[in-house]
């Protein structure tokens, strides 16, 4: 039931955004640390090894932000599941409205119910708007489009670069061969 874990992870990411940033940073720094060690093993001095590892990594902040955005995004891409989510929210909103309206307005309980219902509906509205903006093109997928690439070095004399695009599948992967 990996989708349940993914959903729980999504909810957790919404509740503790700082934790997500720390988690991503730790992971990326671990990578740089490993690369530094490999460079040292390959004969570099520690300072050089560290500098080379950082340079090899590229734009740390950009990668970090892209990962954080992906981590905070909805845990699924399927249009059907998105529709299911919208329908569920609509049903919850409808039931909430009935629950709030179906009580004498002048009583303290009635007013409290209405306030709670307004709060819950407002929260759902904000969550859906934010989630939709992240899933839509121009969100993390856009940053990913620019980032994703593979390099291939077959003989030292030639290099190939493969650039992949966003998760929507709207653009192709591109390979650029360079030969000297």
């Amino acid at each position: 039931m990996s989708w349940i874990k993914a959903t729980l992870s999504f909810i957790n990411a919404r509740r503790h955004p700082d934790e997500i940033i720390r988690e991503v940073e730790t992971e990326l720094r671990f990578h740089i640390e490993m690369r530094t060690r490999a460079n040292i093993d390959a004969g570099m001095k520690p300072d050089e090894a560290r500098t080379a590892a950082v340079q090899s990594f590229g734009d740390f902040e950009r990668v970090k932000n892209t990962c954080c955005e992906l981590r905070r995004g909805l845990p699924f891409d399927s249009m059907l599941l998105k529709m299911g989510l919208h329908i569920t929210i609509a049903v919850v909103a409808g039931l909430g409205a009935l629950w709030a309206v179906n009580v004498p307005h002048h009583t303290f309980t009635g007013v409290m119910r209405q306030l709670i219902a307004i709060g819950v509906l407002g929260y759902l509205f904000i969550v859906v708007r934010r989630a939709k903006s992240r899933v839509a093109l121009g969100g993390p997928g856009e940053a990913f489009r620019a980032d994703q690439s593979l390099t291939s070095d077959m003989t030292g004399a030639s290099a190939a670069k493969i650039t992949a695009y966003d998760e929507q599948g709207s653009t192709p992967v591109e390979r650029v061969f360079k030969s000297e």
Binding site: A164, G169, R175, V176, E180
Partner: protein, 110 residues
């Protein structure tokens, strides 16, 4: 220096990551190393691509992560394939083989 461009199947990186993880759980750095290793040092995944790719695959439920201790006794995030990830890898491999076959057929035409 000359340059030529050719289109490739979308999702090549996804397939490589899934393939690397099909051989066992790994942290991000290890995945990059394994892809280099299994491709005979032909392919190197750039870090700027690898991590967003991992987070995207995790979001899709094809891989999952958990913290564990690495070889050098540091805590690290390890990724492993999920059941749906294993199924997806089979689909990706089949798609890739079809594309490669079709491309080869097209290239052999005189």
């Amino acid at each position: 220096m000359s340059k030529s461009k050719a289109g490739l199947l979308q999702g090549t990186l996804d397939m490589l990551i899934l393939k690397a993880l099909s051989l066992g759980a790994l942290h991000g750095y290890g995945i990059g190393q394994r892809i280099a290793q299994i491709s005979g040092d032909t392919l190197r995944v750039e870090e700027g691509s690898l991590y967003p790719g991992l987070y995207r695959l995790e979001r899709r439920g094809w891989i999952e992560s958990e913290c564990d201790v690495s070889d050098n006794n540091q805590r690290a995030k390890f990724y492993k394939l999920t059941r749906s990830g294993r199924k997806q890898l089979i689909v990706e491999e089949q798609n890739w083989e079809r594309l490669a076959d079709a491309t080869m057929k097209a290239m052999r035409v005189v």
